[in-house]
């Protein structure tokens, strides 16, 4: 799952840093805007069957690859 998610993130963010540094801050580094974030939530649902409503988690809880993996795991 982690590997698949990192592929998705790389595709959405357009930079391989997400695979090299799992704690990179996607928002601060300007790698993920709100359009990308919506795309990410849809991709997570399509690939892992995990539904994350934008209202139930804050962007801060989802701003690094590691945090995103954690949230998905907690819902699987």
């Amino acid at each position: 799952m982690e590997e698949k998610l990192l592929d998705i993130l790389e595709d959405i963010c357009g930079d391989e840093i997400v695979k090299e540094d799992h704690d990179v801050n996607l928002v601060e580094e300007d790698l993920m805007d709100s359009l990308d974030y919506t795309e990410l939530l849809i991709a997570i649902e399509e690939n892992f069957g995990v539904v994350i409503a934008p209202s139930e988690v804050t962007r801060e809880q989802m701003n690094t690859p590691n945090k995103i993996i954690g949230v998905i795991k907690s819902k699987m």
Partner: protein
């Protein structure tokens, strides 16, 4: 005087002078003239009333020039095909022109056609009769047909008449140094003969009594060896794409110590960047750097400008120059009207070097060619698909390909515009931006950047994106930035966009 007349004059004046030299051999003006007279007679006897164009296949053999001139002297059109072309493409061109005779200086086999190979040719250049000048191409006859690599569909054969080529050469002889100053010097011949850029060096040199120094593909694979070969020729005039010069500049030995006779660099076929121009000026303080612009459909180039340090320091890209005598440039706006001075529009070329159209393709011809009633009478016109504008300095500036405009998130974006800005960023030597497609929709834009002082790590990629944000609107900033050693090139030495799109 037309082109064959000019070459004849040089051949009679100095028959011993070398006309062409490459690793494949050497030919003098006298021999070139005599051999092509005889081969022309052989062709004419063999083909009789058949006036179809003749495919000339090969690479950098001196016999290539003999074949070109022989076709023209027999009153026929030639179609140059370089060995770098794929077999499928060679067959498609051979079938399009459909002449039973093919002249080939390198191995070629095509069922159903008679291929005059180098052994047949070496007999035919000693044929016992010579062609009469009465048979020569007339001004309105097609001198050559170059098939463009057309990004989509079947290749289009651009017909260039004797008149087009002759009026082009009248001008190209005088670009930078005068024709008299050029006489007897040595020109680099690097582009394949199937690429119109080669016309710039080949016919300018032959009409001016200069020696062509042909660099073949094998040499180009070994830069060290190639530079030694260039040194041996003590080149004076350089004609290539900027990408080819960049390849040479990657070697620190490429400078005026290696080539002390270098007087002029002439570029066409691709955007000349400030980085390339400045580096050449630094390494060759005595040489001029000249930028030119023009499509295959208008022979080779129709504008030129000598690049100055002031132009490099200015806060915009380098100009492509001012139109040559006999050429008018109009900028056509989207609604079909001519743009006011300073306004952007599609570059339309009018004048004496504009081709009569594509070979046996009236539909494609009518799409881009027209005849316009001007003050001086009717002029042929060609719409280039390039966007440009005139600066207040009177110079034409190139913006980008109109077909490189993409719609993304509702915005109309000029990929060339992003590339121009990338090139302004410190350390960026070459850049190309391509869309990442998801079926027929663009997902995002990806930039490829060549730089020799960056590792291409995350901080470098971030710096590129952040610098761009200060230069262009955020929606234009490519989401993905990748560093590569060198942009992939097409066989014509231009950035290979298809290949880059596959890399995204």
């Amino acid at each position: 005087m037309n082109i064959l007349g000019k070459i004849k004059e040089r051949a009679l004046a100095d028959p011993a002078r070398v006309a062409f030299h490459s690793q494949a051999g050497t030919i003098s003006y006298g021999k070139l003239w005599d051999s092509s007279d005889r081969l022309a007679a052989w062709i004419d006897d063999r083909l009789g009333d058949d006036r179809k164009p003749i495919v000339v296949y090969g690479h950098k053999s001196p016999l290539m020039l003999v074949c070109f001139l022989a076709c023209a002297k027999s009153g026929r059109t030639y179609c140059p095909i370089d060995t770098c072309m794929s077999e499928g493409r060679v067959i498609s061109i051979v079938e399009t022109v459909d002449n039973p005779l093919i002249l080939a200086t390198e191995d070629l086999e095509i069922p159903g056609y008679f291929v005059a190979d180098s052994s047949v040719l070496s007999g035919a250049i000693n044929y016992d009769s010579k062609i009469s000048e009465k048979k020569w191409n007339k001004p309105e006859d097609t001198f050559y047909i170059i098939f463009t690599s057309g990004s989509t569909g079947a290749p289009k054969g651009v017909q260039i008449t004797d008149e087009n080529l002759s009026r082009y050469v009248d001008w190209s002889q005088t670009v930078g140094d005068s024709a008299d100053d050029k006489q007897g010097s040595t020109f680099l011949n690097q582009a394949p003969f199937s690429f119109d850029l080669s016309v710039m060096d080949t016919y300018t040199a032959l009409a001016t009594g200069c020696t062509l120094w042909g660099v073949d593909r094998m040499l180009q694979k070994d830069v060290g060896k190639m530079l030694r070969f260039m040194k041996e020729g003590n080149l004076n005039y350089w004609v290539s794409t900027p990408s080819f010069a960049d390849m040479c500049l990657a070697d620190p030995h490429f400078n005026s110590t290696l080539l002390p006779g270098m007087r002029q660099f002439m570029f066409c076929g691709e955007k000349l960047t400030k980085g390339t121009a400045e580096e050449l000026m630094d390494r060759f303080p005595e040489a001029k750097v000249i930028n030119t612009y023009g499509p295959t459909e208008s022979t080779v180039a129709v504008t030129s400008v000598e690049i100055t340090r002031e132009m490099i320091a200015a806060d915009r890209c380098l100009p492509i120059g001012q139109p040559k005598p006999g050429t008018e440039i109009r900028l056509i706006r989207e609604d079909g009207t001519v743009a006011a001075h300073g306004g952007k529009g599609e570059i339309q070329i009018l004048g004496d070097t504009v081709s009569p159209g594509y070979y046996m393709n009236d539909i494609k011809t009518r799409e881009v060619f027209s005849i316009i009633d001007c003050e001086d009478g009717m002029e042929r016109a060609y719409r280039t698909g390039d966007e440009g504008f005139f600066g207040e300095d009177g110079m034409l500036y190139y913006v980008g390909r109109i077909d490189l405009q993409v719609k993304f998130h509702g915005y109309r974006i000029e990929l060339g515009d992003i590339e121009n800005n990338l090139l302004k960023i410190d350390g960026v030597q070459a850049a190309a931006v391509v869309p990442k497609w998801n079926e027929d929709k663009i997902r995002y834009l990806a930039a490829f950047v060549a730089s020799d002082n960056s590792e291409g790590g995350f901080e470098d990629r971030k710096r590129i994106r952040e610098t761009l944000k200060t230069m262009i609107p955020e929606y234009m900033v490519p989401k993905k930035v990748s560093f590569i050693d060198r942009l992939p090139m097409t066989s014509n030495g231009k950035a290979d966009r298809k290949r880059l799109e596959e890399l995204v």
